[in-house]
């Protein structure tokens, strides 16, 4: 509980810092704003369609490395004991591919997740299959496979901890994180 609170606190502090950094690297020509103009800067970034605002660094407890998440990389979902890409997931992945093609430096990790039913080990294998399905789909849409790594968390990181159909449907997913910008 303590660590989670700390994590959120850190994340909030990082927001303005990251806006500054991303803006600087993207638009080197633009004069760097003074610290007092942070509010204005975020508005101008939005107007220009710079989409990476809110990319805050996160960390999973006990797992090395930091990562970022983007609202433009949405989770996709699967049926029980299945790893095929459903039509609703395909529509999401097409948008994700566009985002990735627009940000060619981003390195992405695709996490395969499962619901709580079945053995830990079978779910690790199933999660790997789901991540691989998503990767294959994105590669077919033109994303360079060297930018996409996969990892399976099996049933170890449920999004919804409840034990019912609704929770299970949410937990059978691929989640996309940005390891490098």
């Amino acid at each position: 509980m303590k660590t989670r609170k700390l994590g959120i606190l850190v994340a909030l502090l990082m927001v303005p810092l990251f806006l500054t950094v991303s803006c600087c690297t993207k638009k080197a020509v633009k004069p760097t704003p003074t610290t007092g103009e942070k509010g204005n800067q975020s508005v101008s970034a939005q107007q220009k369609g710079v989409q990476e605002e809110g990319l805050t660094k996160k960390k999973y407890p006990g797992i090395q490395g930091e990562f970022m998440e983007s609202k433009y990389l949405k989770d996709i979902h699967f049926d029980f004991d299945k790893y095929n890409i459903r039509p609703d997931a395909a529509a999401i992945l097409k948008k994700s591919a566009k985002y990735l093609l627009a940000h060619p430096t981003y390195k992405i990790q695709i996490e395969g997740h499962c619901d709580e039913r079945g053995s830990v080990e079978y779910n690790l294998v199933l999660g790997e299959r789901r991540a691989n399905s998503a990767k294959k789909f994105l590669v077919n849409l033109g994303v360079d496979p060297s930018r996409l790594s996969t990892i399976s968390y099996g049933k170890e990181m449920p999004l919804d901890p409840r034990h019912n159909e609704e929770a299970w449907a949410k937990n059978r997913r691929c989640h996309f994180i940005i390891l490098e910008k």
Binding site: G118, V120, E121, L124, V125, S152
Partner: protein, 396 residues
Amino acid sequence: MPPRWEGNIVPKSITPALFEKRVTHDLWITGFFNIISGQEIPSSLRNAYLARNQLNLKSFRALGAEFVLATTSGVSQGIFTIESHLYDVAMGKEIAGYRLKGSARAKDRVFHAFENKIIYFITGSNGLFDTKIAFVSTQTGNKEIYTIDFDGRNRKRITRNGSINLSPRWSPDGTKIAFTSYIRRNPDLYIIDFKVGKIYLFSHRTGLNVAPAWSPDGKYIAVTMGYASRSQIFLLNMRGKKVRQITKGWGDNLSASWSPDGKKIAFVSNRTGRPQIYIMNADGTGVRRLTFRGTYNVAPVWSPRGDRIAYSGIIDGRFQICTVTLDGSTIRVLTSIGNNYTPCWSPDGRYIAYCQTTKRGSDIYIMNFDGNFKRRLTHDRGRNSMPSWSPHLEKP
């Protein structure tokens, strides 16, 4: 004629009442005994024994007793001693008299040796009091590896990395535990070496390094790893080097378990679309499907007696522990409450430990191999899962 008590053993720190409570509990959990408490024995019988060392075994028969256990214990100069006499009521004579000593700081070990001997003299094979069960617990908020003694005492935390730790598996000699951990943002295999007191990275191929299965001779570990975007079982030597790929063919193959003679391996495959249990020779040839009932059967473990395989399968919508004979003909369903996962056998094949999840939580249970006499082993607030039973850890 029973022998007289020897020595000047002064009871200290363990009162007779505490001693009896402990031994009663420990003998009860084996499932072999109904215990008649010392309090229920008529005082005339007790007094005759205490005062004159006379044991009228015929009168114990009237109580329904088949065996009588008379013990004394105490600490003297840092040495904890248990002296014990075991009588067979039907035969009308003492069948075992022995004295066990050990450091007073390690009373549990003396107790375990004492209790193992009782089991040995009555059943003809060793008790399991010198065995431990490794498992995964979320007590600290994340999944760490713990061990607990067969009698439910001496719970110990083994890993302290704050990460996700899974699938602990004892080596056949009981000196190591292999497990999977996500410390390096990949499910890598680690080995805890209790002799050296160290944890080291064993296999860290990108992707899965999971479901470690030690060969019975301790020379190899069969590991489930990714290969060509599927999962296959590979044989690694103790330096972590790939010796060969064991499984081939369509679908995912995973969760190896060796036969006790090391000649065959049971595993899970979804080559027909749904996970089922299969058997093959240890070199990957001669694959045959073992389970045909149900649509989801996983986590096979080969009995140390070699005659059956336990697994977890969906029956009427929930996961139950089952056993199946090697020809697939006889399936027994051993559990009925909640969902039940990851069975593992005691080293003598008499018991199965498993994980039971209900609305209340998730705990390790032990039952007889026929499904009788279920008892809960873990009693903490964490969610406990993935038991692995050690071999005997003391030399007989």
